[in-house]
Symmetry: C2
Subunit: 363 residues, 2 copies
């Protein structure tokens, strides 16, 4: 390849995954129907922030909600509040939880908390994993879907069982709902039905909703009040958050109802990929708009193949490919608006080309 | 008054202080000359964030700079880095430092650090206050100007003396430069001359610059690299910060050169107020674009008088008035763009009216 693969991807007219490029015009687009004479929010007050918080509290079936600049801040704070309430520094979550692998140990370095990793990296944890924890834990964090293993989900009954166990044992249950709206079609539940199992809930406005940034934390009035104090302590109580809030609300309204369609796109593409020898997806059958694909070829080989597809079809099947070792690589597929812009037949042609290119190299 | 005073203030066509109302159109205005097809910054990378960081590093005369969503986050992190480096949990600052009174004890609750309050609440601290501290401190924070006492400044020679003392004693020196550009005319120094006295520097893009939010932290390359890790831990490493960055850069370019004019407005208004019996300003002669005014009358009385001025002259002299006790109150005056929009003579008429209304009530 003459250019880096990411550059080649950017040049493609069509993209299989995502909600389109993150261009700064997204912000302007979300302000188009706003009354520009409106007052900015000021340190958590004002209709721009408070109306949206009320809307989300209602949607999630919680007493109150509070807007945060980031999910990282939101979740550390939620766990800290439960830790203080339960007088235990221990919280339990999946070994590949965002707090464990993407936050430079903020939970430990700032809040001096201890994480108990449930189950194994390559699967969802279950009630047995939780029961096997000897230490008293303040909180269990459940991430739906479990992103780092391709967006897997426990069955509804398993979730209910987890929630009942936590209630009996006095363990607070927190939902990492960064992709909350994405999983509702699978469970065929409303957001408030799902959140009803949890004491506190975090949702993100980028990921599937395609906003710029921002998060919401919801729970009881007392919990949310405490979280505002911690938000100030973390440096998240910005004088004005409206650039994110207006965009978040716009993005939510635009895409919240599309999650079933995004999921169906994931299903059809995973099916297509799994038919190709040398590719398999996890999960085999997606349960939301995402999955991970594993390739029995090096990152370099797959980038060359995907680059040839971009050259031939002007379609980028996937952007970010991670090497596992010299002989295999993987990638995360997340479906959004881009899929519906594909001309009929283009994807089929590209997948056929992908299969034949892989076959060529297997010979 | 039929309406709350803050409502009456909003209705005034002219405002003596500030940079105008914080309307959401400010964001859109700052995007007007941008190429909207530009890529968003992603987790601290991309030209939108990196170019601005380089510009500020150069302007402040430091190796590197990093953009943060808030000053609260910036300063806790700066102090934490120096604390770790110096292996001391103690930092010294003014009793009315932002970290001490506006951050819900984030420095103590998140970083377990201990503050040593230098000098007295009602004056600047000095070298003797610093020398009198027995404990070994990691860092001294100097806020220029000292906002909570009306924006006072030490003389340049005193600053140089403090810096030399810190250097000799191995104490890191951090600048709370939330209002850095505001103080340069008084010192008649460049930003890099002033920042050259300090190991680390924080600047804010709202305050005098009139942006929406956001801050920059500057220092050595190693210091800034560490601050990025803490930024992630605090939940400040947002996927995209461009809404604030683009506006910050726009606001800085728009107002950075106006600080001397803003200061002159502060000088003339303070002089006018000090001529009125029952009003005095701190400092007596402002050293930047701000001062505090003290009124020998209740908050209610002063609000009634200021409301009558709004009714008669369509001019709001000051918005936010704080009661000290039942017989006195105070307010913060900060000068920006609004002053230059006043029609000739209006301010003089309003100050005359203010004087006669106060006199009436003194009889």
């Amino acid at each position: 390849m003459s250019k880096p693969y990411t550059e080649i991807c950017k040049s493609a007219k069509y993209k299989l995954t995502g909600n389109g490029d993150r261009r700064i015009e997204l912000l302007i687009e979300s302000f188009e129907h706003m009354d520009l004479s409106m007052d900015a929010d000021m340190y958590g007050t004002g209709s721009i922030i408070n109306d949206f918080e009320e809307e989300l509290a209602q949607l999630l079936g919680k007493e109150k909600a509070v807007f945060f600049p980031s999910g990282t801040m939101t979740q550390q704070i939620a766990l800290r509040i439960w830790s203080d309430e339960k007088e235990s520094k221990k919280v339990a979550y999946h070994p590949l939880c965002h707090l464990e692998i993407h936050e430079k140990d903020g939970l430990k370095m700032l809040h001096h908390m201890e994480s108990i990793l449930l189950g194994r990296e390559d699967r969802l944890f279950n009630i047995e994993d939780l029961i096997s924890v000897a230490a008293p834990i303040a909180c269990l964090l459940v991430e739906l879907p479990q992103r780092e293993i391709g967006g897997q989900l426990p069955a509804w009954d398993e979730l209910v069982e987890l929630a009942q166990f936590c209630k009996e044992k006095g363990i607070k249950l927190h939902l990492d709902g960064a992709r909350l709206f994405e999983v509702l079609p699978y469970y065929n539940k409303s957001a408030s039905d799902l959140c009803g199992l949890f004491d506190s809930v975090y949702v993100s406005f980028y990921k599937g909703l395609g906003g710029i940034a921002g998060a919401m934390l919801a729970g009881s009035a007392g919990f949310v009040e405490q979280s505002k104090v911690w938000k100030r302590r973390h440096g998240g109580d910005l004088i004005s958050l409206y650039p994110y809030i207006i965009n978040a609300r716009y993005s939510m309204n635009k895409r919240m109802g599309n999650m079933k369609a995004y999921w169906q796109h994931a299903l059809s593409v995973a099916e297509g990929l799994n038919k190709i020898e040398g590719i398999r997806t996890i999960p085999d059958v997606p349960v939301c708009n995402m999955f991970h694909a594993y390739f029995d070829a090096s990152k370099e080989t797959m980038e060359n193949i995907f680059a040839s597809i971009i050259e031939k079809y002007n379609l980028c099947l996937i952007g970010n490919i991670k090497a596992i070792d010299g002989l295999s690589c993987k990638s995360e597929f997340t479906f959004g608006d881009s899929f519906s812009l594909l001309p009929p037949g283009l994807l089929e042609d590209a997948l056929n080309h992908l299969e034949s290119e892989i076959k060529k190299r297997q010979v």
